[in-house]
């Protein structure tokens, strides 16, 4: 580390409003950022990592959340004390920031070029023509295709990755000394994420920038960090070089976090039966949009969400469906449970085709296929008690009320919740607990097939590990067959017996997990595997 740090955070306390869970969001945090280094701040949700970054930028949601004590030294100044006007001058020119969601961070009614132009206008005295030239040059630096054209595009005309590149270009417009990146790749697909990480690293080296990189993903840390700071409940629990923190952590919390990161090495394959439970044959689903009332309005647009998809789920196995956003993996799941109606093809459950069944004919079949949803906050009705949410399914199937209630209480226990949860409302539970309730609801009808649509992607890594273990346990115990939809290859490696890779509505490759990971046949599968963050790092399992 160099002698004088770029940024020196000393004993930082960020106070939360009265009546919050804890008095300080960030407590006694000391961080130093040297020139030309990437410091990753890692932590789970609520650890205070984002507020630390925002405190540096003077972007705390004041007056409720404010810096109570401590100093943020940048050059000769203390950013905790300088005036708002000075802070504005520093922001964008000497310290700049990129955010998680580029669509909301960019102004939708201004062209990309105008937005970068603003930065130059506020901070420099360049003429109009020079400013435009600089903008085009910057877009070229971040490898945006056809920069001369992109300057005049609006944010919605770009893809997510391109928007994030535009954001980075704006952030680096004035060659800042420090770049703060708050989960900049979390909203992106893995392949795009890999490109953006590479870009940040490349630009950081070229400009000698110090980067404060906030993330929850240890894979990303392994790829990009020089040094790592781990935060928990507002406290800095461990700090050190990337190699040391990732491979020889000292603090028990860091150890627990790293142990919870799913390994990319597929788990040992299990004995499987070859008997198919569910078969999907040539499933096709086209989404139409545009066409409106009486055929007035714009022309109809068609998107092939699923294009002759074939899947086979065997008894007792977990079949992973893996793909990036827009690959059609969720559409397939929704067609199987008949939330959407497929246009063509067959969905055979024990040789019975579900696709043509009407509402009434489908009802008795409903109990055999159930679903676990992604978002534990949106998937439970906030106004219904947990017990009723779980018992609803059996009640509709005609199970007597007393029996359904007993079953619900039993299920709460199976998924690891207290029986007293029965009479409480969903908002009284944490994200992980809610997901357990969601699992209990899916099990209430004694299904044979469980479809899990990204069941852990909204959860913190330690909770994620618990839910995955729970799903594995119940699959074993109740001899379920499971379709597991995920974008995360690490999770897929740990959960799935076989994997189907989807891209743009088409299954490009299917195979046993270990084979698929070792010897991917399709070019896209190879690309996906190569893009997994931290693929060269093997997380150690610490006994805790």
């Amino acid at each position: 580390m160099s002698a004088s740090p770029l940024l020196d955070i000393e004993n930082l306390h960020v106070a939360l409003p009265q009546g919050s869970e804890r008095p300080f969001a960030v407590e006694a945090v000391d961080l130093e950022l040297a020139p030309n280094e990437i410091l990753c701040v890692v932590g789970e949700s609520g650890s205070g990592k984002s507020l630390t970054a925002r405190a540096v930028m003077g972007l705390l949601p004041q007056p409720h959340v404010r810096i109570e004590r401590g100093a943020i030294r940048f050059g000769d100044e203390d950013l905790a004390k300088v005036s708002e006007a000075r802070l504005r001058a520093i922001r964008g020119s000497e310290i700049s920031m990129i955010f998680q969601e580029p669509m909301t961070a960019l102004n939708p009614v201004m062209t990309i070029g105008n937005q970068i132009d603003e930065v130059f206008r506020f901070h420099t005295k360049l003429g109009r023509k020079e400013r435009r030239e600089r903008a085009v040059a910057l877009f070229d630096d971040v490898h945006l295709p056809d920069p001369g054209h992109i300057v005049d595009s609006y944010p919605h005309e770009l893809s997510g990755g391109q928007r994030q590149r535009a954001m980075i270009a704006t952030a680096l417009a004035l060659d800042p000394k420090i770049l703060i990146a708050d989960e900049p790749t979390t909203a992106l697909d893995v392949t795009t994420q890999a490109q953006i990480l590479k870009l940040i690293k490349e630009l950081q080296a070229a400009h000698n920038t110090g980067v404060l990189f906030i993330t929850h993903d240890f894979g990303v840390v392994a790829d990009i960090a020089d040094r790592v700071a781990v935060m928990q409940h507002g406290l800095l629990v461990e700090m050190g070089t990337a190699d040391k923190v990732l491979n020889a952590p000292e603090h028990p919390y860091t150890k627990a976090l790293i142990s919870a990161v799913p390994s990319l090495v597929p788990r040992a394959s299990r004995q499987r039966s070859a008997e198919p439970v569910l078969e999907v044959r040539d499933l096709t689903k086209v989404y139409r949009s545009g066409g409106s009332f009486f055929g007035l309005g714009g022309k109809e647009r068609k998107v092939m969400a699923a294009d002759r998809v074939n899947l086979e789920l065997r008894r007792g196995e977990t079949l992973g469906v893996v793909g990036e956003s827009g690959s059609g993996k969720s559409t397939v799941a929704r067609c199987i449970v008949r939330l959407n109606d497929a246009d063509e093809g067959q969905i055979l459950l024990h040789e019975v085709d579900l696709r043509p069944l009407g509402r009434a004919a489908m009802r008795p079949m409903r109990s055999k296929i159930q679903m676990v949803f992604q978002d534990p906050y949106a998937s439970l009705n906030p106004r219904t008690k947990v017990g009723k949410i779980i018992a609803q399914g059996p009640l509709i199937q005609g199970v007597p009320a007393a029996e359904a209630e007993d079953r619900a209480r039993e299920l709460l226990e199976i998924v690891g919740l207290d029986e007293r949860a029965y009479d409480r409302f969903p908002h009284e539970f944490s994200g992980g607990q809610r997901q357990r309730i969601g699992v209990a609801r899916a099990l209430a009808n004694n299904p044979q097939v469980l479809i899990a649509d990204e069941p852990v992607s909204a959860l913190d890594v330690s909770i994620q590990a618990q839910i995955l273990r729970l799903l594995d346990e119940i699959r074993e115990r109740l001899s379920l067959s499971m379709i597991f939809i995920t974008h995360d290859l690490r999770v897929a490696a740990q959960v799935c017996d076989r994997i189907a890779v989807m891209r743009q509505g088409v299954v490009v490759e299917t195979g046993p997990t270990a084979e698929l990971f070792d010897d991917p046949k399709d070019a896209y599968t190879r690309e996906l595997l190569a893009a997994v963050p931290g693929k060269d790092w093997l997380p150690t399992k610490f006994s805790t």
């Binding site: 009802r363 296929i369 978002d375 439970l380 609803q392 509709i396």
Partner: protein, 277 residues
């Protein structure tokens, strides 16, 4: 419930509004105790100023007691306001709910009908309806409901549209729940707060429309109301200011109070909006 009251109490003006409404309701409920006679009865000397001749708030050009009129008129205003709002909210919720839940051509059809009602200026439409149906309590309630339901329908439609794709609703589809049960048991409880808030504000509008109709002589001729009092005093405004003023103040206070309560309900029921302050 105690929790709700704690949230509501935080908004001081909403509490004041509630107190005023309570007073108006009390006045309406006890009108026949304090003014046992028919408010249309000629009680004494015409155009008596407030305080004179035993008239608390004076008498009008025919010698009717203004105070008695206000007390009995409160009953009419509240009754019509509440009834019309209930009819409008009920009908609007059904239309909006169906349109929002099913979407597609059902949505198109119901919304075009709603828009048709919205294109006609509401007060003119109400006058027309009452004139066609002959002035009576029922026709006034129907007229007010007919001009007010589109707002509710649009609101409920929006709520249903955003809720119908929520995962908890999909989960109900997956266990095979029927559409009616999903709409009534799952979606509706989650959009009650905005409906209650809009409904409470609609009561105020309904009272205003009713007063306007009575002012124009389109009120029920057998029932005393605030609008009728103002209409009766309009011609003598310069010589007997009290005939118009007191019923006017009564309308002002009641409508203001209902709006304050609506605001308070909004704060208490939609906690996310409150936190922005």
């Amino acid at each position: 419930m105690a929790d709700f009251w704690r949230l509501y109490r935080r908004n001081r003006s909403a509490v004041i509004g509630l107190a005023i409404i309570a007073a108006v309701i009390l006045m309406a409920a006890t009108a026949h105790l304090f003014f046992p006679d028919d408010p249309f009865k000629l009680a004494g000397k015409p155009m008596s100023p407030p305080g004179a001749e035993g008239f608390l708030l004076g008498s009008d050009s025919l010698g009717r007691d203004v105070a008695a009129g206000i007390a009995h008129g409160a009953k009419t205003s509240l009754l019509i306001g509440l009834l019309a709002t209930m009819v409008a909210v009920g009908f609007g919720a059904v239309m909006g709910g169906l349109a929002g839940y099913y979407g597609g051509w059902i949505d198109d059809l119901l919304m075009r009908v709603t828009e048709m009602f919205q294109t006609i200026p509401s007060f003119v439409f109400a006058i027309l309806l009452v004139a066609i149906m002959k002035p009576s309590i029922e026709s006034i309630v129907i007229a007010i409901a007919v001009v007010s339901w589109p707002a509710v329908a649009r609101l409920v439609r929006g709520e249903f549209m955003s809720l119908r794709n929520r995962e908890f609703v999909q989960a109900c589809h997956i266990v095979g729940m029927s559409d009616v049960r999903i709409m009534l048991g799952e979606i509706l409880p989650n959009c009650l707060s905005p409906i209650i808030v809009t409904g409470s504000l609609m009561v105020a509008t309904a009272i205003l429309i009713e007063s306007g109709l009575s002012f124009l002589g389109l009120g029920d001729p057998n029932i005393m109301s605030w609008g009728f009092l103002i209409g009766a005093g309009r011609t003598v405004l310069r010589t007997a200011w009290w005939v118009c003023t007191f019923p006017g103040v009564a309308i002002l206070l009641t409508v203001l109070a209902i709006n304050l309560v609506g605001e308070g309900l909004n704060d208490a029921l939609n906690p996310r909006l409150r936190e922005r302050r």
